[in-house]
């Protein structure tokens, strides 16, 4: 009881306040940093973990196109695995007859779909149908040109002579 009494007798301590000014400063810096790196449409690519894109001084943005992911194990178009890779070669691809490969057929499907979509848009707008479609390549920086070239040739045969090479901004 004596204890309680002595506590009541003590002079009342002022309510502690936390100084949040430094925290505000930190938050302001973070908000500004994030505002500068804000992207209205964040990049969402399912690039393999072992694929390291090369760095470049290119300033061009990629456009919405067919995305081809090339790793040392698989070839993916958008989200579908279309071919397997073995020792830098596409399994089941005959360079003399590329039209028999799954890669060619998938690219051809995309091309036909893009063309029919472009025709519909042209009908609506009354403008000429767009036909300059391209493939956006995601390749590992250590991939040899031999491997790349075999896929470029198939893409060109499927109607994609123009490419975009995905790179990291330096």
């Amino acid at each position: 009881m004596a204890l309680g009494n002595s506590k009541a007798m003590r002079p009342q301590e002022p309510e502690p306040t936390i100084n949040i000014t430094s925290m505000m400063d930190m938050f302001t810096i973070i908000v500004f940093f994030l505002l500068f790196s804000y992207a209205s449409k964040p990049d969402e690519f399912a690039v393999d973990k072992n694929v390291e894109l090369p760095e470049s001084n290119s300033v061009f943005d990629y456009s919405n196109s067919v995305k081809l992911f090339l790793s040392d194990v698989t070839i993916k178009i958008e989200d579908d695995i279309v071919a397997q890779m073995k020792n830098g070669k596409v399994v089941g691809l005959d360079p003399a007859k590329p039209e028999r490969s799954g890669l060619y057929q998938k690219l051809k499907q995309f091309k036909e779909k893009q063309l029919s979509d472009a025709k519909l848009v042209a009908l609506e707008t009354g403008e000429k149908a767009k036909d300059d479609f391209h493939v956006l390549f995601f390749c590992d920086r250590n991939l040899s040109f031999k491997t790349m070239n075999s896929i470029i040739k198939v893409a060109a045969a499927a109607g994609y002579p123009n490419f975009q090479l995905a790179v990291m901004e330096r």
Binding site: L34, F60, L143, F145, N149, F163, V167
Partner: protein
């Protein structure tokens, strides 16, 4: 005026504290939202193509009066060196040969891209209308080296060189 100042002093300054808690709350909401929509990987693209058959057009009357020669630079990217060849149907072989160059790897085993850029710059200065470069890498060349060569071919020290780079495989 003096009276005003005195009155203020006599009244005593009240320490004014702004309540920053609502601002903090707003920041706490903003930060997760911005974190979710931030893009930390700056992805860019290099436009390129493979060689395609094209019909040559007959030059217009105006073009005939002012012929502007275009040079097509062919860069062969080999394991130990880069060789540059200039081609054009409008210039004699002897004039084109002067523009050819060979760039070897340096002591660190890296291509001397600066030397290649200087050779390309010379062509561009002589024939400013030139815009096409054909890049011919050999099979063993890595993608990273191709991208670096394309970077040099497009621009050097802020000067535009050959913006249109075409990739071609070696003819066997």
């Amino acid at each position: 005026m003096a009276g005003l100042g005195q009155r203020r002093r006599t009244g005593g300054d009240l320490e004014c504290e702004i309540d920053m808690v609502p601002i903090m709350n707003m920041f706490l909401v903003l930060i997760p939202f911005l974190l979710a929509s931030s893009s930390f990987l700056n992805l860019k693209a290099i436009n390129t193509s493979v060689p395609v058959m094209a019909e040559t057009s007959v030059p217009a009357e105006q073009d005939k009066k002012k012929p502007e020669i275009k040079i097509t630079a062919t860069v062969k990217l080999e394991v130990n060196r880069i060789s540059l060849e200039a081609t054009s149907s409008e210039l004699p072989e002897a004039k084109l040969k002067v523009m050819d160059a060979v760039v070897k790897k340096d002591s660190k085993g890296e291509y001397a891209y600066d030397q290649l850029a200087v050779a390309l710059l010379k062509i561009k200065e002589l024939y400013p209308k030139s815009d096409t470069l054909i890049l011919v890498p050999s099979d063993a060349i890595l993608y990273d080296a191709i991208v670096k060569t394309m970077d040099v071919a497009r621009s050097y020290e802020g000067q535009k060189l050959f913006p249109s780079v075409v990739i071609s495989g070696q003819v066997q």
